[in-house]
Symmetry: C2
Subunit: 229 residues, 2 copies
DNA sequence: CCGGATCCGAATCGATACTG
DNA sequence: CAGTATCGATTCGGATCCGG
């Protein structure tokens, strides 16, 4: 049960022993979006065997990363401890790093609400958001999010699939635009194409509102290519 | 051979598929210090099975993280690609995060030259180094490093065990102080004790030079406790 | 439906031995 | 020095089952 030790006395080693087992970081990614029930996690990670999910949650609890909270409104949820939440900057860095070499989706690859939410957080450029607002619905596959940027702050709520009970509060009113995109949206975020090209190539469509909203999207959500040899 | 897929189209997932396998991040940690031969890596990771090291190096090459370079001076070395080196900030974050909950070393835990080097980089406070210099030898167990802070820049060279051929250049001259410490040095870096207390409790000793150097060490190398529930 | 526990074949890991 | 080969011990993955 205890994580197999690497036999070194070192911070990196300790970290990898805590969160380096298979699936652990993806569980944490989803929990960074909000507390989740066992079943929510299982649906957000469709390929995880249930016994592995169970084992990881126990290990993460033992490591002080996750905690199990009985909630009046909706039963039992898992949430990150403050120590676990301290992984957020690291997770964003990891997402940015991996984004560089994503390529095309493999057959069967899916996009979940939690992974898309974290992808938006990963790509969000607070430095460009000082004077720019945005309030859109973003649809990718079966997932629909409401993303709002205001006062330099990004907030994301999940519209579909029906958000877990403990999701973020939905903003009132209607979004200024509804964007429907495919996985190719990655190329827009990566700066390989412009908003206009994304529309022209059917990578994204603005089905309601002004197409100009997609241009603001491309400004606010952008991952710079560092170096790919 | 190909990393088992998690079935998601997401940056974090891609990253974990590239560097999330067992031992991979520790290999990268050591390579962040400098290029290493196969045998150097094996010595720096004493508990890694040789077939796993071999497999990981192949996978990391295939992922564009590591590259194999035949070097005139010393044969064959592995080094990080630019994409692999882009993991450095992430690795430092990981080290800082893990440091928080390190506790006492387990029986058999060792400290290697590369792990201690990365620990120093992890703990280094560039923000405090603008007006402060330091040039010490640091001995922990069998490991001896020469650490220099000058102009806000940290450089670390390995004195013992004999550095791999491709290590950093050794600075000329003598260090201003020689510090001998045990694993308890963690408590100094963590801010649990002062330099004076570290000496009084025999956690560290200044065997040559002024004891005041240890106070500067404690200022320049420090990991703040974030939140441990 | 929720929150797991159990069982079993397949793949991986770890330890040791061996080779060019 | 730089790995490959082998083999038992673990872990993972997939499916099923079960109590609430």
């Amino acid at each position: 049960m205890a994580a197999r030790s690497y036999g070194q006395y070192c911070g990196v080693t300790r970290a990898v022993e805590l969160v380096g087992e298979r699936w652990a970081l993806l569980i944490i990614r989803d929990l960074l979006v909000g507390p989740r029930r066992y079943t929510d996690l299982k649906q957000g990670l469709p390929r995880i065997p249930t016994n592995i999910l169970s084992t990881r949650l126990k290990e993460l609890q033992e490591g002080g990363v996750v905690r199990r909270v009985p909630l009046a409104r909706c039963g039992l949820v898992y949430e990150l401890t403050p120590y676990g939440r301290a992984l957020e900057p690291l997770m964003l860095e990891l997402g940015r790093w991996g984004f560089q070499t994503m390529g095309e989706p493999a057959e069967g690859d899916i996009v979940t609400a939690d992974s898309l939410t974290m992808a938006l957080r990963t790509a969000f450029r607070a430095d460009r958001a000082v004077g720019t607002c945005l309030d859109i619905e973003l649809h990718v596959g079966d997932v629909a999010l409401r993303a709002r940027v205001r006062d330099g702050i990004l907030s994301v709520a999940q519209l579909a699939p029906p958000a877990p009970p403990v999701g973020g509060a939905l903003p009132g009113g209607e979004a200024e635009a509804v964007i429907v995109a495919g996985p190719g949206i990655r190329r827009l975020i990566g700066g390989e194409i412009t908003a206009g090209e994304a529309i022209a190539q059917d990578i994204a469509a603005v089905v309601r509102g002004a197409e100009e909203a997609l241009e603001r999207f491309a400004i606010l959500f952008r991952i710079e290519r560092i170096a790919v040899p």
